[in-house]
Amino acid sequence: MLLRSSRFAAENIPPFELKGSLFTLTVLHLFQLDRAAIERHLVEKVKQAPSFFNNTPVVIDLEGLAEPPKGLDGVDFNSLYELLRGHGMAPVGIRNGSPELQAVARQAGLPVLPDSRSSASAVKKPERTELAPIRNRIINHPVRSGQQIYAADGDLIVLGTVSAGAELIADGNIHIYGTLRGRALAGVKGDIETWIFCQSLEAELISIAGRYRISEQIDSTDWGKAVQIHLVDDRLVIDHLTR
């Protein structure tokens, strides 16, 4: 025995170490503090599933707890603890609740666990099923080099010139009532029915639903012309606008 303990000491092994671990715990969502009501409900639950309540660790969640009308004086976590122990549950801590409630719980020896951050709000978030309304964007100034303009869920209409190095992006169509020297990307969310229109095509790049052409690939007969651009059989087609 003596030999063994000295060997331990020699190898310098500490008596314990701390490691983090994840557990699945049952959470008891407390809605009121009426001891009699809690006990009645407990007895019922235990009757339904006696094997479940066998020294089961639980966390008491106070988020749904209405503020006690008589203030915090009536709150007795010690008695709640005893009640739960008596019915086969082992409270390991509390979470949520007001800072005052948490202080009372801490005094009763119950640790405060981190808040369940988004569980409640995540459930509340309504599902968005309906389509967003079309929102067109009109730009009444020249779009300069380095600027990027995005029209989400709609068309982009530019009344001025789009400089080289500028970028227009739209979920819908793009209309330019000036010279297009920069980039124009229509239907960026994949709408192959979108079009690009401009008064003078001198673009660095044109793209519809991901199919693109850079300036080198634009025919010289289309250069500097008023054009409309659309997809036909997955290919970009440039038509001259007739007056």
Binding site: H141, R144, S145, G146, T161, S163, A164, G165, A166, R181
Partner: protein
Amino acid sequence: MATVIVVTSGKGGVGKTTTSASFATGLAQRGYRTVVIDFDVGLRNLDLIMGCERRVVYDFVNIINGEANLNQALIRDKRVENLHILPASQTRDKEALTKEGVDRVLNELRQSFEYIVCDSPAGIERGALMALYFADEALVVTNPEVSSVRDSDRILGILASRSRRAEQGDPPVKEHLVLARYAPERADRGDMLSVEDVLEILGIPLLGVIPESQTVLQSSNAGVPVILEDGSDAGTAYGDLVDRFLGKNLPHRFITPQKKGFLKRLFGKG
């Protein structure tokens, strides 16, 4: 009410400081109380062009940091009345320019000057942003060359979106184009962009065309703003530019090739 004018370009070496020096000198010559500020902290040049480099004691950053007052730092021009220079610091970097600090200095200058000319550093980083942020008007200096025009376009975009006027929804910064180092013969031959090309791309009013000139180099080495070189093309062009800025309606000079002599006309064609 004082007017703050930024002289900017995006690209370096296009003539911002030359333009700032001559523009400020021209305004002062015409009787306006004018101060020109060098925003190029760390690469101080304006004092050289203005010929006052040996009189710099305190600088713009000293004022911002409260280490000196304005009267200590402002340098009075010896040639032109009403003209003052606020030099940049050579030993700091652009981070020394804070929005609050620049605002405070400009507000103080507004009390005693009619025109505040801000000579911007090249680039689109802090120094350039601080120089243009408080501007009421902007002289955008560009050369007849595609990269310079592209960079000026970028700066125009920044003026329209990141100046204080843009942020506060006030009327936009008034933009003026200064086309510097222009050689009409070469533009005619297609070696460089023409005035029309540049105007079509940038789409802002042309304030002046400064011809490419040996005098600019000579005068900046001599520390004399070129506007003071009487009879020089560039000096005359800057004079016109200032008059146009002040509202005179003058035709643009130096944008067409000089008339060929008799012999050249005889034999030049063909």
